[in-house]
C-alpha cells in the first residue's frame, strides 16, 4: 500500500479496530485514549494517554498500534504517551457508552463524582445495564480493573461492573 495516500481519517478508522484488551468491546477510539496522530510521509506518531496511571493494558495497546500501522507500510512508527491533560471518562464516546451497556457494564455517569473528597458520601446512583432499574447498590468501590466498581441490582439481583467516572 502507498502510505502517502492515506489520510488522517483513514488512520483513525484503522485505530478504531484496536480494542482495549481489558474491556474488549471498546475500541481505543471509543475510550478516548488516542489524543493525536501526526503524519509525515512514511513516519507516523500516535499520541495516547492512559486511563489510569497503572493501567497494565497500555503496553499491549502500544504494541498493537505499531503492528496495525506497520501493515499499512509505515516505516517509522512512534507511539508516545501524554499524561497531561489527564484522561477523563468525559472523553468516552457516546457509541462507547452504548457498547459498554450492551456488554453488561454500566457506563460512567456524565458527572464526575468519585474524585470528591467528602467522606462517607452516598454511593453514586447507577442504572443496571440489564434491567435498567436505578434500584441498585454498590458492593465495592474497587473492582476487577482500576476503572471499575462493583454493583448489584436490587430488582433483577444481577451483580454488574460499573465503569467509574474519572
Amino acid at each position: 500500500m502507498i502510505v502517502h495516500t492515506i489520510n488522517k481519517e483513514a488512520i483513525y478508522s484503522y485505530l478504531e479496530e484496536i480494542n482495549d484488551p481489558e474491556v474488549p468491546v471498546l475500541s481505543i477510539i471509543d475510550l478516548g485514549i488516542v489524543r493525536d496522530v501526526k503524519m509525515n510521509n512514511e513516519e507516523i506518531e500516535v499520541v495516547i494517554t492512559p486511563t489510569y496511571t497503572g493501567c497494565p493494558a497500555m503496553d499491549m495497546i502500544t504494541t498493537t498500534i505499531k503492528i496495525q500501522l506497520a501493515t499499512l507500510g509505515f516505516k517509522k512508527i512512534k507511539v508516545t504517551q501524554a499524561l497531561s491533560p489527564a484522561w477523563t471518562t468525559e472523553w468516552m464516546s457516546e457509541e462507547g457508552k452504548r457498547k459498554l451497556k450492551e456488554y453488561g457494564i454500566a457506563p460512567p455517569n456524565p458527572k464526575q463524582q468519585v474524585c470528591d473528597q467528602i467522606l462517607f458520601a452516598a454511593a453514586e446512583a447507577v442504572q443496571c445495564p440489564h434491567c435498567e432499574s436505578y434500584h441498585t447498590h454498590r458492593i465495592s468501590e474497587f473492582g476487577s480493573t482500576a476503572c471499575k466498581a462493583l454493583y448489584q441490582c436490587d430488582d433483577c439481583k444481577e451483580p454488574f461492573d460499573y465503569f467509574k467516572c474519572h
Partner: protein, 249 residues
C-alpha cells in the same frame, strides 16, 4: 540536573516501595472487597513509579531504563521515606501508613502539577485524581477503625504510636529537595507540615484517636539510610533480576 534526577527518583521510590508493600496483601485482605481495594491502590502507585522511573531514565541516559532503576539499585541508593518501608503488621497499620502518605502526597502533587518541569507536572496532574481516591478511602478506614470496636481502636492507636516517629522526616527537606525547590521544579515540603497536621488532627478527632506526645523523629530514608525493613523488600522485589540478569517476562 543531578538534583532533578534525585528528586524524581525519590518520588519514584516512595511510590514503588509502598506499592510493593501494599501488594503483600494480595489474597490476604480482611475481606475480598478490601483485598481488591488495597491491591488497586498498589497498581496506581506502581503506575506512578513507572512514570517517574521512565522520566528519570531519560534524564540519566546511559542505557538506564525503568527496570534497571527499580531492580538493580542497592538499598543505599533508594530515596524513599522511612514511613513507606515499614511493615504491614495488621490492617490498622497498613491503613494508617496509607492515610499518612496519601495526605502527604496529595499536598505535594497539588503543587507539583504546577511545577516548572513539564513532565513532573504532568505525572502529578495525572496521579492526583487517584490520590484523591486513596486519601478518601484511607481516611474513612481510619475513622471506621478508630471509632469502631474496642479492639479496632486499640490496634489503630498502637499503629499511631508505632508510625508517628516516621512522620517528621516527610517535612524535613533533603539536599535534593532544597535544590529542587530553589530551581523552581520541586515542592517546599517543610511548608506543608501545618496543613498536613491539621488534616490528620481533623480525622483523628473524628476517629477518637490521639497523637503521641514528644516523639523522637527518625530520619535518613530520603538520603538512603533505611530501617532494616527495606533490605527485605528489595530482596523479594529484585530477586528475579539478581538471580537471572536480564530475564524478561
Amino acid at each position: 540536573m543531578n538534583s532533578l534526577i534525585d528528586y524524581t527518583l525519590h518520588l519514584a521510590d516512595n511510590a514503588l516501595i509502598l506499592g510493593q508493600r501494599n501488594s503483600e496483601w494480595c489474597g490476604h485482605g480482611p475481606v475480598l472487597e478490601q483485598d481488591i481495594a488495597i491491591t488497586n491502590i498498589s497498581l496506581d502507585l506502581i503506575g506512578q513509579a513507572r512514570n517517574f522511573y521512565q522520566y528519570a531514565a531519560t534524564l540519566i541516559g546511559d542505557n538506564a531504563t525503568e527496570d534497571s532503576l527499580a531492580y538493580l539499585r542497592k538499598e543505599r541508593e533508594f530515596k524513599n521515606a522511612l514511613l513507606i518501608e515499614q511493615p504491614n503488621v495488621d490492617w490498622a497499620q497498613t491503613i494508617l501508613r496509607q492515610f499518612f502518605f496519601s495526605q502527604y502526597q496529595y499536598l505535594i502533587f497539588d503543587q507539583l502539577q504546577h511545577s516548572k518541569d513539564k513532565q513532573l507536572a504532568a505525572i502529578a496532574e495525572k496521579s492526583l485524581k487517584e490520590i484523591t481516591y486513596h486519601l478518601r478511602w484511607s481516611s474513612e478506614w481510619v475513622i471506621r477503625l478508630g471509632d469502631g470496636t474496642e479492639e479496632s481502636h486499640r490496634r489503630m492507636q498502637k499503629a499511631i504510636d508505632e508510625l508517628w516517629r516516621y512522620t517528621g522526616e516527610l517535612f524535613e527537606a533533603s539536599n535534593y529537595e532544597l535544590e529542587a525547590m530553589k530551581d523552581g521544579f520541586g515542592v517546599a515540603v517543610s511548608q506543608l507540615k501545618d496543613e498536613w497536621m491539621n488534616k490528620v488532627k481533623e480525622i483523628f478527632s473524628e476517629a477518637t484517636l490521639s497523637i503521641p506526645e514528644k516523639t523522637f523523629m527518625q530520619t535518613g530514608g530520603k538520603e538512603g539510610k533505611h530501617t532494616e525493613h527495606l533490605g527485605y523488600i528489595l530482596t523479594e522485589l529484585q530477586y528475579m533480576q539478581r538471580a537471572y540478569p536480564g530475564c524478561e517476562w
